[in-house]
């Protein structure tokens, strides 16, 4: 089985959400294969279904004054931030057999993120009781997923790559107060391009899910817009 991977570049949150929704429908009807979308979002704070009071430090107007959008997301988890220099991955995959286990799926994504970090020389790990990939007490990658009818996945992960993490100041990441955030650049001093990280991450996600990554011709964000329209 193959995982068809696409790097979409910069895509606004709402547009990516619509695109995912469409892909979930296509995957469910069998009209498309398992797909992994890789992209970055313009600055946005998203609230998962589990979002708790007080984890948003600024109200919508104050966020908007800083050029940050606010969206509700139909995924698990608390509040999170996406911005430039962060690789976001949305696997739209029909889980099969023993992989139809929500916790196993989370652990598989964590494996993929830890493997990706290792490829860039960063030693990340799981934290007992928490989700995501961590370097010491700092979060390198966040996970929040949705499983739709037919065990079709959507939403996914966000791996911090670039140096600018200031957007996280507007939230309490994932509702965990006493911890910080970090990125591949913070840990190594080198800044790989997002596309470079995307290629490595795609291989690791595919392996973790028992699939083979196949790259589709890079889609520019302009044609992504057409697709989601």
């Amino acid at each position: 089985m193959t995982l068809s991977c696409r790097f979409l570049g910069r895509v606004p949150y709402a547009q990516a959400a619509a695109l995912q929704e469409r892909l979930v429908g296509l995957r469910r009807s069998g009209a498309s294969t398992d797909t992994l979308l890789l992209l970055e979002h313009p600055p946005v704070v998203t609230l998962g279904r589990g979002a708790r009071a007080g984890h948003l430090l600024l109200d919508e107007a104050a966020l908007s004054a800083r050029g940050i959008e606010l969206h509700e997301a139909g995924r698990g988890g608390d509040v999170t931030f996406h911005g430039l220099g962060q690789l976001v991955g949305y696997p739209v995959v029909a889980l099969q057999g023993a992989r139809r286990d929500a916790h196993r799926y989370l652990r598989d994504l964590e494996d993929a993120l830890i493997g990706t970090a290792a490829a860039f020389g960063v030693e990340a790990a799981r934290e007992p009781g928490l989700t995501g990939a961590w370097v010491g007490r700092d979060k390198l990658a966040a996970i929040g997923v949705r499983i739709g009818t037919g065990w079709i996945t959507s939403h996914g992960f966000a791996l911090n790559v670039g140096d600018d993490l200031s957007g996280f100041d507007t939230i309490v990441p994932c509702g965990i107060r006493d911890r910080g955030v970090t990125s591949l650049t913070r840990e190594t001093g080198a800044t790989p391009s997002l596309e470079e990280v995307a290629r490595v991450a795609a291989d690791h996600v595919a392996t973790a899910l028992g699939l083979a990554a196949v790259w589709e011709a890079a889609v520019s964000s302009a044609s992504a817009r057409r697709e989601s329209a």
């Binding site: 589990g50 009071a53 109200d59 107007a61 988890g77 286990d101 799926y105 989700t131 997923v145 499983i147």
Partner: protein
């Protein structure tokens, strides 16, 4: 045949799930594998498909409840005739007839005889607990279009009606006796006017609330001098900095949130013999309209600063008056604030907004002479009332709650502005 819907096990190590949303309401039909409800388990949200085609006849757990896996959360009736006549499913003898091929579709067509109701309209209607036949239709042959029902929902629907399942069997009080049939002879000096949908909804909602809750009332007097002074002091700054008019409402919402956190029973609901504590503080703020009344809801009001509350409340009130509220914005309230004092009333004794258990009434503020340290002073005074449901809230708790609100108002923290 009745089919149980259980909380599915989403993974080997997962023992429970929290229901986040029902996509179908009691009485609605659902196809096999059509999404029925959504759950969340730590970092995963999942959409749960229906195990069979049929009519949803009972929902045992509402959104927000956490349920162990394999527990029954709802019941489907796969037999159309049984479902059609099953507003009180538990009183039906078990059906043994084999299910027909497409019972669901048959039932829904039959129920809407006469006027055609499209599936999308039916779905929206069911989501909001509205009888589609009560919606004025502007389409061909008086058909109700999607726009009609959305307009109806946005303008006419009192809040929280959808949260009270129409078939809830747990109501403690007996049904009200039918209103006496008063007939005015035709030709008498009267004029008849059909109630607007909003009027009808308000009427049903208020009577239902009186029948459901054991209303009790407390009234406190509050010294508003400090809040009035703070408002005067910050008014122009808010105009300048936030482009919005600072009113007194955000002060009340803030004080209520603090008190609700201290006395969470006031932020609860009653379901059967259980008290459901609601973790979010979604505060409804009543807005009087020329054509009725609507209660937009400030979600997670405790997350917002005074500036944030001011902007949010002003925006909601403005859009309530221009009929631009979204259906979502009048639902899910957990506590309500209303202001019977705007026309000079001393205080009011409002009716609880179901399925909530308390409503705070803000009386008019006026300067009154009061005795402070044996001297007569002139202060801004206000009566603040609360109606609460004595089924779950006792007078002592209600009074402590009000005393808390009073203290927050009288000693209002200026740094919050």
């Amino acid at each position: 045949m009745r089919v149980d819907v259980v909380m599915p096990q989403m993974g080997e190590s997962i023992a429970e799930g929290t229901i986040t949303r029902w996509m179908k309401q009691v009485g609605e039909t659902v196809g096999r594998d059509e999404p029925l409800f959504e759950i969340s388990t730590d970092k995963v949200d999942a959409e749960i498909p229906s195990p069979a085609a049929g009519t949803l006849v009972e929902v045992k757990n509402q959104a927000g409840e956490t349920v162990p896996v394999n527990q029954v959360v709802a019941v489907l009736e796969t037999d159309a005739s049984a479902a059609a006549s099953a507003p009180k499913p538990e009183s039906k003898p078990p059906e043994t007839k084999p299910a027909k091929a497409q019972p669901a579709a048959v039932a829904s067509e039959a129920s809407s005889e006469g006027s055609f109701v499209s599936p999308v309209v039916r779905k929206i209607a069911a989501e909001h607990g509205i009888d589609p036949s009560s919606v004025p239709g502007t389409g061909a042959g008086g058909r109700v279009s999607k726009k009609d029902i959305l307009d109806f929902v946005a303008q006419g629907k009192p809040p929280a009606a959808a949260a009270t399942p129409s078939t809830a069997p747990a109501r403690v009080a007996p049904a009200a006796p039918a209103a006496p049939q008063v007939t005015f002879a035709s030709g008498a000096r009267t004029e008849r006017q059909a109630m607007t949908p909003m009027r009808k909804k308000i009427a049903e909602h208020m009577v239902e609330s009186r029948r459901t809750s054991a209303h009790v009332h407390s009234v406190f007097e509050v010294d508003m001098s400090r809040v009035v002074a703070l408002r005067t002091k910050y008014k122009s700054l808010y105009e300048e900095r936030h482009g919005t008019k600072l009113t007194l409402t955000p002060f009340f919402v803030k004080a209520a949130c603090d008190a609700l956190r201290a006395f969470p029973i006031l932020n609860s609901s009653v379901e059967g013999n259980e008290i459901v504590y609601r973790k979010d503080l979604n505060v409804g703020v009543a807005v009087a309209l020329d054509w009725g009344l609507i209660v937009p809801v400030v979600r997670n009001a405790d997350q917002l600063s005074i500036a944030g509350l001011t902007m949010k409340i002003n925006d909601l009130a403005e859009r309530a008056r221009t009929k631009k509220l979204l259906p979502d914005e009048v639902q899910g309230g957990t506590f309500t604030i209303t202001n019977p004092g705007i026309f000079g009333g001393l205080f009011g004794l409002p009716i609880i907004n179901q399925p909530q258990v308390a409503i705070l009434g803000i009386g008019g503020i006026e300067k009154r002479p009061v005795v402070i340290d044996d001297a007569i002073a002139i202060r801004d005074r206000m009566y603040m009332s609360m109606s609460y449901d004595h089924r779950v809230v006792d007078g002592a708790v209600a009074d402590q709650f009000l005393a808390f609100v009073k203290k927050v108002l009288q000693e209002f923290d200026e740094s919050l502005l």
